[in-house]
Protein backbone atom coordinates (compact mmCIF):
# COMPACT_ATOMS: atom_id res chain seq x y z
CA UNK A 1 0.00 0.00 0.00
CA UNK A 2 2.87 2.30 -0.69
CA UNK A 3 1.07 4.41 -3.29
CA UNK A 4 -1.98 5.00 -1.11
CA UNK A 5 -2.43 8.09 0.92
CA UNK A 6 -2.72 8.07 4.71
CA UNK A 7 -6.51 8.22 4.64
CA UNK A 8 -6.75 5.35 2.24
CA UNK A 9 -4.42 3.24 4.35
CA UNK A 10 -6.43 4.09 7.47
CA UNK A 11 -9.67 3.07 5.69
CA UNK A 12 -8.05 -0.20 4.58
CA UNK A 13 -6.84 -0.94 8.10
CA UNK A 14 -10.31 -0.24 9.50
CA UNK A 15 -11.84 -2.52 6.87
CA UNK A 16 -9.35 -5.23 7.77
CA UNK A 17 -10.24 -5.04 11.43
CA UNK A 18 -14.00 -5.28 10.89
CA UNK A 19 -14.75 -6.63 7.45
CA UNK A 20 -18.47 -7.05 7.92
CA UNK A 21 -19.37 -3.41 8.55
CA UNK A 22 -21.60 -1.60 6.04
CA UNK A 23 -18.91 0.46 4.39
CA UNK A 24 -16.86 -2.55 3.30
CA UNK A 25 -19.00 -4.21 0.72
CA UNK A 26 -18.63 -7.68 -0.62
CA UNK A 27 -16.87 -6.56 -3.76
CA UNK A 28 -13.94 -5.21 -1.81
CA UNK A 29 -13.69 -8.43 0.21
CA UNK A 30 -13.90 -10.61 -2.88
CA UNK A 31 -11.41 -8.65 -4.94
CA UNK A 32 -8.93 -9.07 -2.14
CA UNK A 33 -8.62 -5.30 -1.60
CA UNK A 34 -9.20 -5.94 2.10
CA UNK A 35 -6.62 -8.27 3.59
CA UNK A 36 -8.16 -11.17 5.50
CA UNK A 37 -5.05 -12.70 7.03
CA UNK A 38 -6.97 -14.54 9.75
CA UNK A 39 -9.09 -16.56 7.36
CA UNK A 40 -6.71 -18.06 4.81
CA UNK A 41 -7.97 -21.05 2.78
CA UNK A 42 -5.53 -23.83 3.73
CA UNK A 43 -5.96 -26.79 1.39
CA UNK A 44 -3.86 -29.97 1.89
CA UNK A 45 -4.71 -31.30 -1.56
CA UNK A 46 -1.71 -31.50 -3.80
CA UNK A 47 0.30 -29.19 -1.64
CA UNK A 48 3.45 -27.49 -2.51
CA UNK A 49 5.67 -29.79 -4.50
CA UNK A 50 8.94 -30.42 -2.70
CA UNK A 51 12.09 -31.95 -4.09
CA UNK A 52 13.25 -34.11 -1.17
CA UNK A 53 16.95 -34.80 -1.28
CA UNK A 54 17.89 -38.04 0.51
CA UNK A 55 20.67 -40.56 -0.08
CA UNK A 56 19.89 -43.41 -2.44
CA UNK A 57 18.07 -46.46 -1.09
CA UNK A 58 18.20 -48.29 -4.42
CA UNK A 59 20.95 -50.65 -3.34
CA UNK A 60 19.30 -51.45 0.00
CA UNK A 61 15.94 -52.15 -1.57
CA UNK A 62 17.57 -54.21 -4.32
CA UNK A 63 19.40 -56.29 -1.72
CA UNK A 64 16.22 -56.95 0.25
CA UNK A 65 14.32 -57.77 -2.91
CA UNK A 66 16.97 -60.27 -4.06
CA UNK A 67 17.20 -61.75 -0.56
CA UNK A 68 13.46 -62.32 -0.51
CA UNK A 69 13.56 -63.84 -4.00
CA UNK A 70 16.37 -66.29 -3.34
CA UNK A 71 15.04 -67.36 0.04
CA UNK A 72 11.55 -67.97 -1.29
CA UNK A 73 12.84 -69.74 -4.39
CA UNK A 74 13.54 -72.88 -2.35
CA UNK A 75 11.61 -71.90 0.75
CA UNK A 76 8.18 -72.07 -0.81
CA UNK A 77 8.59 -75.50 -2.48
CA UNK A 78 10.06 -76.87 0.72
CA UNK A 79 7.19 -75.48 2.81
CA UNK A 80 4.66 -76.92 0.35
CA UNK A 81 6.34 -80.32 0.40
CA UNK A 82 6.56 -80.45 4.19
CA UNK A 83 2.91 -79.40 4.54
CA UNK A 84 1.79 -82.05 2.05
CA UNK A 85 3.82 -84.73 3.81
CA UNK A 86 2.37 -83.78 7.17
CA UNK A 87 -1.21 -83.70 5.87
CA UNK A 88 -1.22 -86.73 3.59
CA UNK A 89 1.35 -89.07 5.13
CA UNK A 90 1.01 -88.59 8.86
CA UNK A 91 3.39 -89.43 11.66
CA UNK A 92 3.75 -93.04 12.71
CA UNK A 93 2.17 -94.43 15.86
CA UNK A 94 3.95 -96.39 18.54
CA UNK A 95 3.28 -100.11 18.50
CA UNK A 96 4.67 -103.21 20.13
CA UNK A 97 7.00 -105.15 17.85
CA UNK A 98 5.69 -108.62 17.12
CA UNK A 99 7.68 -111.47 18.60
CA UNK A 100 9.34 -112.90 15.50
CA UNK A 101 9.59 -109.70 13.45
CA UNK A 102 12.82 -107.70 13.31
CA UNK A 103 11.90 -104.13 12.30
CA UNK A 104 14.00 -102.42 9.63
CA UNK A 105 16.24 -99.65 10.91
CA UNK A 106 14.00 -96.89 9.56
CA UNK A 107 10.96 -98.20 11.34
CA UNK A 108 12.32 -96.89 14.62
CA UNK A 109 11.61 -93.24 13.72
CA UNK A 110 8.35 -91.31 13.95
CA UNK A 111 8.27 -88.55 11.34
CA UNK A 112 7.86 -89.70 7.70
CA UNK A 113 10.65 -87.47 6.39
CA UNK A 114 13.09 -88.83 9.02
CA UNK A 115 12.07 -92.33 8.04
CA UNK A 116 12.65 -91.56 4.37
CA UNK A 117 16.12 -90.11 5.03
CA UNK A 118 17.03 -93.06 7.26
CA UNK A 119 15.82 -95.49 4.62
CA UNK A 120 17.48 -93.94 1.57
CA UNK A 121 20.61 -92.15 2.78
CA UNK A 122 21.77 -93.30 6.19
CA UNK A 123 23.31 -96.64 7.08
CA UNK A 124 21.54 -98.57 9.78
CA UNK A 125 22.91 -97.94 13.32
CA UNK A 126 23.82 -101.64 13.52
CA UNK A 127 26.01 -101.21 10.43
CA UNK A 128 27.60 -98.07 11.90
CA UNK A 129 28.34 -99.96 15.11
CA UNK A 130 29.93 -102.80 13.18
CA UNK A 131 31.97 -100.34 11.08
CA UNK A 132 33.30 -98.78 14.28
CA UNK A 133 34.10 -102.20 15.72
CA UNK A 134 35.94 -103.12 12.49
CA UNK A 135 38.01 -99.94 12.71
CA UNK A 136 38.86 -100.70 16.35
CA UNK A 137 39.83 -104.28 15.42
CA UNK A 138 42.15 -103.08 12.64
CA UNK A 139 43.82 -100.57 14.95
CA UNK A 140 44.19 -103.21 17.66
CA UNK A 141 45.85 -105.61 15.23
CA UNK A 142 48.19 -102.86 14.02
CA UNK A 143 49.15 -102.03 17.61
CA UNK A 144 49.73 -105.69 18.45
CA UNK A 145 51.88 -106.17 15.36
CA UNK A 146 53.98 -103.15 16.22
CA UNK A 147 54.55 -104.47 19.75
CA UNK A 148 55.54 -107.91 18.47
CA UNK A 149 57.88 -106.35 15.93
CA UNK A 150 59.68 -104.45 18.69
CA UNK A 151 59.94 -107.61 20.76
CA UNK A 152 61.31 -109.59 17.79
CA UNK A 153 63.88 -106.86 17.08
CA UNK A 154 65.04 -107.01 20.68
CA UNK A 155 65.35 -110.79 20.64
CA UNK A 156 67.14 -110.91 17.30
CA UNK A 157 69.59 -108.23 18.33
CA UNK A 158 70.48 -109.92 21.60
CA UNK A 159 70.49 -113.55 20.48
CA UNK A 160 71.78 -112.96 16.98
CA UNK A 161 70.46 -116.23 15.58
CA UNK A 162 67.70 -114.74 13.49
CA UNK A 163 67.65 -113.41 9.95
CA UNK A 164 67.69 -109.74 11.07
CA UNK A 165 70.78 -107.75 12.07
CA UNK A 166 73.12 -109.96 10.06
CA UNK A 167 76.13 -107.97 8.76
CA UNK A 168 77.62 -109.44 5.61
CA UNK A 169 81.35 -110.30 5.72
CA UNK A 170 83.71 -111.43 2.97
CA UNK A 171 84.10 -115.09 1.93
CA UNK A 172 86.75 -116.73 4.17
CA UNK A 173 88.03 -118.83 1.27
CA UNK A 174 89.34 -115.68 -0.38
CA UNK A 175 91.83 -115.03 2.42
CA UNK A 176 95.37 -115.44 1.19
CA UNK A 177 97.30 -117.22 3.92
CA UNK A 178 100.47 -117.44 1.80
CA UNK A 179 102.36 -114.66 3.69
CA UNK A 180 101.76 -116.61 6.88
CA UNK A 181 102.43 -120.07 5.31
CA UNK A 182 105.87 -120.44 6.90
CA UNK A 183 106.92 -118.94 10.23
CA UNK A 184 110.16 -117.48 8.89
CA UNK A 185 108.61 -114.99 6.33
Amino acid sequence: MVGMSVLRSAAAFAARLSPLKSGNNAANVLTRAIQRTDKVAVRWGHGKKMFVIKPTDFYDRRFLRLLQYYILLTGIPMAVIVTCVNVFAGEAELAEAPEDYEPEHWEYYKHPITRWIARNFYDSPVKDYEKMMAAIQIEKEKADMRLTQLEVRRQMRTKGDGPWFQVGTLNKELIDYSPKATPDN
Binding site: V87, F88, A89, G90, A92, E93, L94, A95, E96, A97, P103, E107, Y108, Y109, K110, P112, R115, Y129, M132, M133, I136, Q137, E139, K140
Partner: protein
Protein backbone atom coordinates in the same frame (compact mmCIF):
# COMPACT_ATOMS: atom_id res chain seq x y z
CA UNK B 1 -6.57 -86.61 18.57
CA UNK B 2 -3.28 -87.15 20.39
CA UNK B 3 -3.57 -89.57 23.28
CA UNK B 4 -4.41 -88.18 26.67
CA UNK B 5 -1.84 -88.26 29.45
CA UNK B 6 -1.51 -91.25 31.76
CA UNK B 7 -4.33 -90.80 34.28
CA UNK B 8 -2.72 -93.19 36.74
CA UNK B 9 0.55 -91.27 36.93
CA UNK B 10 -1.04 -87.83 37.23
CA UNK B 11 -4.23 -88.45 39.23
CA UNK B 12 -6.77 -85.68 39.40
CA UNK B 13 -8.55 -84.95 42.68
CA UNK B 14 -12.34 -85.56 42.56
CA UNK B 15 -14.28 -82.65 41.08
CA UNK B 16 -16.14 -80.51 43.59
CA UNK B 17 -18.23 -78.28 41.26
CA UNK B 18 -21.76 -78.03 42.72
CA UNK B 19 -24.86 -78.82 40.68
CA UNK B 20 -26.27 -75.92 38.68
CA UNK B 21 -28.91 -74.09 40.76
CA UNK B 22 -30.07 -71.08 38.74
CA UNK B 23 -31.97 -68.57 40.84
CA UNK B 24 -32.14 -65.59 38.48
CA UNK B 25 -33.66 -65.12 35.06
CA UNK B 26 -30.57 -63.27 33.81
CA UNK B 27 -28.31 -65.13 31.39
CA UNK B 28 -25.09 -66.56 32.72
CA UNK B 29 -22.13 -64.73 31.13
CA UNK B 30 -19.77 -67.62 31.77
CA UNK B 31 -22.06 -69.91 29.80
CA UNK B 32 -22.30 -67.39 26.96
CA UNK B 33 -18.55 -66.99 26.79
CA UNK B 34 -17.93 -70.72 26.86
CA UNK B 35 -20.42 -71.26 24.04
CA UNK B 36 -18.80 -68.44 22.07
CA UNK B 37 -15.37 -70.00 22.53
CA UNK B 38 -16.73 -73.38 21.50
CA UNK B 39 -18.27 -72.18 18.26
CA UNK B 40 -15.48 -69.82 17.25
CA UNK B 41 -12.39 -71.82 18.21
CA UNK B 42 -13.10 -75.38 19.31
CA UNK B 43 -15.44 -76.47 16.52
CA UNK B 44 -13.37 -75.24 13.53
CA UNK B 45 -10.17 -76.70 14.98
CA UNK B 46 -11.82 -80.07 15.68
CA UNK B 47 -13.36 -80.29 12.20
CA UNK B 48 -10.01 -79.43 10.60
CA UNK B 49 -8.28 -82.09 12.66
CA UNK B 50 -10.90 -84.68 11.77
CA UNK B 51 -10.59 -83.82 8.07
CA UNK B 52 -6.81 -84.19 8.15
CA UNK B 53 -7.10 -87.45 10.12
CA UNK B 54 -9.50 -88.91 7.58
CA UNK B 55 -6.97 -88.12 4.82
CA UNK B 56 -4.16 -89.60 6.87
CA UNK B 57 -6.07 -92.74 7.76
CA UNK B 58 -5.24 -94.32 4.41
CA UNK B 59 -1.46 -94.39 4.90
CA UNK B 60 -0.89 -95.35 8.50
CA UNK B 61 2.53 -96.49 9.63
CA UNK B 62 3.97 -97.63 12.92
CA UNK B 63 7.23 -97.23 14.70
CA UNK B 64 8.77 -99.38 17.42
CA UNK B 65 11.05 -99.04 20.38
CA UNK B 66 14.49 -100.50 19.82
CA UNK B 67 15.52 -103.20 22.25
CA UNK B 68 19.23 -103.68 22.87
CA UNK B 69 20.80 -106.89 24.13
CA UNK B 70 22.86 -106.69 27.30
CA UNK B 71 26.60 -107.08 26.69
CA UNK B 72 29.39 -107.75 29.22
CA UNK B 73 30.18 -104.81 31.43
CA UNK B 74 33.48 -102.96 31.72
CA UNK B 75 34.31 -105.03 34.81
CA UNK B 76 33.94 -108.26 32.81
CA UNK B 77 36.30 -107.25 30.01
CA UNK B 78 39.83 -108.55 29.62
CA UNK B 79 42.72 -106.11 29.69
CA UNK B 80 43.43 -104.79 26.20
CA UNK B 81 40.18 -106.11 24.67
CA UNK B 82 39.23 -102.89 22.96
CA UNK B 83 36.14 -104.31 21.30
CA UNK B 84 34.75 -105.30 24.70
CA UNK B 85 35.59 -101.80 25.97
CA UNK B 86 33.68 -100.23 23.06
CA UNK B 87 30.57 -102.35 23.57
CA UNK B 88 30.57 -101.70 27.32
CA UNK B 89 30.98 -97.96 26.71
CA UNK B 90 28.02 -97.89 24.29
CA UNK B 91 25.90 -99.80 26.78
CA UNK B 92 26.86 -97.36 29.54
CA UNK B 93 25.88 -94.41 27.33
CA UNK B 94 22.47 -95.95 26.60
CA UNK B 95 21.92 -96.57 30.31
CA UNK B 96 22.93 -92.96 31.05
CA UNK B 97 20.29 -91.69 28.61
CA UNK B 98 17.66 -93.97 30.15
CA UNK B 99 18.52 -92.70 33.63
CA UNK B 100 18.24 -89.10 32.47
CA UNK B 101 14.76 -89.79 31.11
CA UNK B 102 13.75 -91.53 34.34
CA UNK B 103 14.75 -88.47 36.37
CA UNK B 104 12.82 -86.26 33.93
CA UNK B 105 9.66 -88.36 34.35
CA UNK B 106 9.89 -88.25 38.14
CA UNK B 107 10.44 -84.50 38.03
CA UNK B 108 7.45 -84.07 35.70
CA UNK B 109 5.23 -85.96 38.14
CA UNK B 110 6.32 -83.77 41.02
CA UNK B 111 5.69 -80.62 39.03
CA UNK B 112 2.24 -81.83 37.96
CA UNK B 113 1.39 -82.56 41.58
CA UNK B 114 2.64 -79.11 42.60
CA UNK B 115 0.49 -77.49 39.91
CA UNK B 116 -2.60 -79.46 40.96
CA UNK B 117 -2.34 -78.86 44.68
CA UNK B 118 -1.50 -75.18 44.54
CA UNK B 119 -0.61 -73.68 47.90
CA UNK B 120 -0.77 -76.89 49.92
CA UNK B 121 1.65 -78.89 47.77
CA UNK B 122 4.24 -79.60 50.45
CA UNK B 123 1.71 -81.54 52.45
CA UNK B 124 -0.28 -83.29 49.74
CA UNK B 125 2.55 -84.31 47.38
CA UNK B 126 4.94 -85.59 50.03
CA UNK B 127 5.29 -88.93 48.22
CA UNK B 128 6.17 -87.41 44.86
CA UNK B 129 8.58 -84.95 46.45
CA UNK B 130 10.33 -87.70 48.37
CA UNK B 131 10.57 -89.87 45.25
CA UNK B 132 12.06 -86.96 43.30
CA UNK B 133 14.60 -86.17 46.00
CA UNK B 134 15.71 -89.79 46.17
CA UNK B 135 15.97 -90.09 42.38
CA UNK B 136 18.04 -86.92 42.02
CA UNK B 137 20.30 -87.83 44.94
CA UNK B 138 21.05 -91.23 43.43
CA UNK B 139 21.57 -89.77 39.96
CA UNK B 140 23.95 -87.15 41.35
CA UNK B 141 25.95 -89.71 43.29
CA UNK B 142 26.28 -91.97 40.25
CA UNK B 143 26.60 -89.60 37.29
CA UNK B 144 27.21 -86.17 38.77
CA UNK B 145 30.51 -84.31 38.27
CA UNK B 146 31.75 -86.69 35.60
CA UNK B 147 32.30 -83.72 33.27
CA UNK B 148 31.78 -83.32 29.55
CA UNK B 149 34.08 -86.24 28.64
CA UNK B 150 32.40 -88.60 31.09
CA UNK B 151 32.70 -92.25 30.10
CA UNK B 152 31.95 -95.64 31.58
CA UNK B 153 35.50 -95.88 32.90
CA UNK B 154 35.27 -92.62 34.83
CA UNK B 155 31.89 -93.66 36.23
CA UNK B 156 33.44 -96.96 37.38
CA UNK B 157 36.31 -95.08 39.05
CA UNK B 158 33.78 -92.83 40.76
CA UNK B 159 31.95 -95.91 42.04
CA UNK B 160 35.23 -97.28 43.33
CA UNK B 161 35.86 -94.02 45.22
CA UNK B 162 32.37 -94.19 46.69
CA UNK B 163 32.90 -97.75 47.87
CA UNK B 164 36.27 -96.82 49.36
CA UNK B 165 34.72 -93.87 51.18
CA UNK B 166 31.90 -96.05 52.47
CA UNK B 167 34.38 -98.66 53.70
CA UNK B 168 36.58 -96.00 55.31
CA UNK B 169 33.61 -94.45 57.08
CA UNK B 170 32.24 -97.80 58.29
CA UNK B 171 35.60 -99.17 59.46
Amino acid sequence: MPTDFDKGAYPEPPRQTPAVDKQTALPNPALILSKLFYYSVDLPVTTFRDAVDSIRAKNKSVYYHQKFRRVPDLTECQQGDYLCYYEAEMQWRRDYKVDQEIVKVVQERMRACHQREGASYQQNCAKEIEQFNEATKNFQSRYGDLGAYGSGRKCLMKQKERMMAAQASSA
